[in-house]
């Protein structure tokens, strides 16, 4: 993709190529430094959330729901999924990924076809309910928003809705697929 646009631009206007590249990498550097400042605040707060056992509490609350939605019976898998989802809710993308990998490994049966709980985990992670879209809020704050938190509510409503649709669709597809196999 980069190569294609590079060729295209070289033909069109060769003088701006290097200029564009250098400008944007400079921009990337300043964005990263700004983001770093933002992460200091959020990762600091979230570390307290984790150390005080608050994230485990949220995970505990989620477990009965997970049993129903994911149709898994193994308590360790349940807990991993619960922690994955609650990390996701708090906008801790980096913390949630290793948990999901572990959960998937627990579900692995060695087969080359994804099982129902695996698919459910992927899809629910894709739409995951967001209580705190931390990075997005941070970027908005940075860009001079007067009320950077006013996107929390629409985001929450949207993600709840899409997650419900996702759960429904996965169940529906599973049914259709099973019928097709018989």
């Amino acid at each position: 993709m980069i190569l294609a646009s590079l060729c295209f631009l070289t033909i069109k206007n060769p003088t701006v190529v290097l200029n564009e590249m250098l400008n944007s990498s400079k921009e990337a550097l300043s964005l990263s430094i700004e983001l770093c400042g933002v992460y200091v605040v959020w990762l600091g707060i979230l570390e307290i959330v984790e150390a005080s056992g608050l994230s485990e509490k949220i995970a505990k609350l989620l477990r009965p729901l997970i049993k129903k939605v994911f149709k898994v019976n193994d308590p360790i898998t349940e807990q991993l999924i619960a922690m994955n989802l609650s990390a996701n809710m708090l906008g801790l993308g980096n913390a949630s990924t290793p948990l999901a990998i572990k959960a998937i490994q627990k579900m692995d049966t060695g087969s080359c076809i994804a099982s129902f709980p695996m698919i459910m985990l992927i899809v629910v992670n894709a739409t995951s309910i967001q209580l705190l879209p931390t990075t997005v809020i941070a970027l908005r704050e940075n860009a001079g928003s007067l009320n950077s938190a006013d996107i929390i509510l629409p985001t929450l409503i949207t993600t709840i809705f899409t997650t419900l649709v996702a759960v429904f669709l996965v169940n529906l597809c599973a049914k259709i697929f099973n019928r097709g196999q018989k």
Binding site: A4, A51, S52, I113, T127, P133, S148, A149
Partner: protein
């Protein structure tokens, strides 16, 4: 009203930490320390994607693509300015944040377009990237309907996001 959400949440978290006898100062520092390696990890991706996006934009390819898809997206209620973002989102997290930053600066952080962009990003995920990583430790090759369903739900989320931003 919603301006109070975050500060109050912070106060609650600190209080809860105190009740649970967590040393808030040291714990905060421990968390803050993680920000530097995180930035070092994602900086090359942000830079490369931003260079790529800048080239794409300068070459005019995106505007051609955006023009091509704009009617469909407009029909669904998604502003045509956000076509790029919706397309890039499933592939790269840091890249779409870089793009969001562009949108925020270009249109103003509190504009309708920026708010839509924020909600779209908040309620979606880097589907392809995440799926690859999740499955990396297993032999699973066939994901059946996982990706189409995930993509469909993201698109649905984008449509709903734009609708909600209009009324809220």
């Amino acid at each position: 009203m919603s301006a109070y959400i975050l500060p109050i949440l912070f106060i609650l978290i600190f209080c809860y930490g105190h009740i649970k006898k967590v040393n808030c100062y040291e714990t905060f520092i421990r968390g803050a320390k993680k920000s530097i390696p995180l930035i070092i990890d994602i900086f090359p991706y942000i830079a490369t994607i931003m260079i790529g996006v800048a080239l794409l934009r300068a070459s005019g390819i995106t505007s051609i693509l955006a023009n091509y898809f704009a009617p469909t997206f407009n029909f669904l209620g998604i502003p045509s300015e956000l076509v790029e973002l919706v397309f890039l989102r499933p592939f790269t997290g840091s890249g779409s944040y870089a793009l969001l930053n562009d949108v925020l600066i270009q249109y103003g952080a509190d504009s309708y377009i920026s708010r839509c962009a924020c909600v779209i990003l908040g309620c979606s995920e880097t589907i392809f990237y995440v799926t690859t990583i999740y499955m990396s430790k297993t032999k699973v090759k066939k994901l059946l309907y996982a990706i189409p369903v995930a993509l469909f739900c993201s698109l649905l989320g984008s449509i709903l996001a734009c609708l909600l931003c209009k009324i809220m």
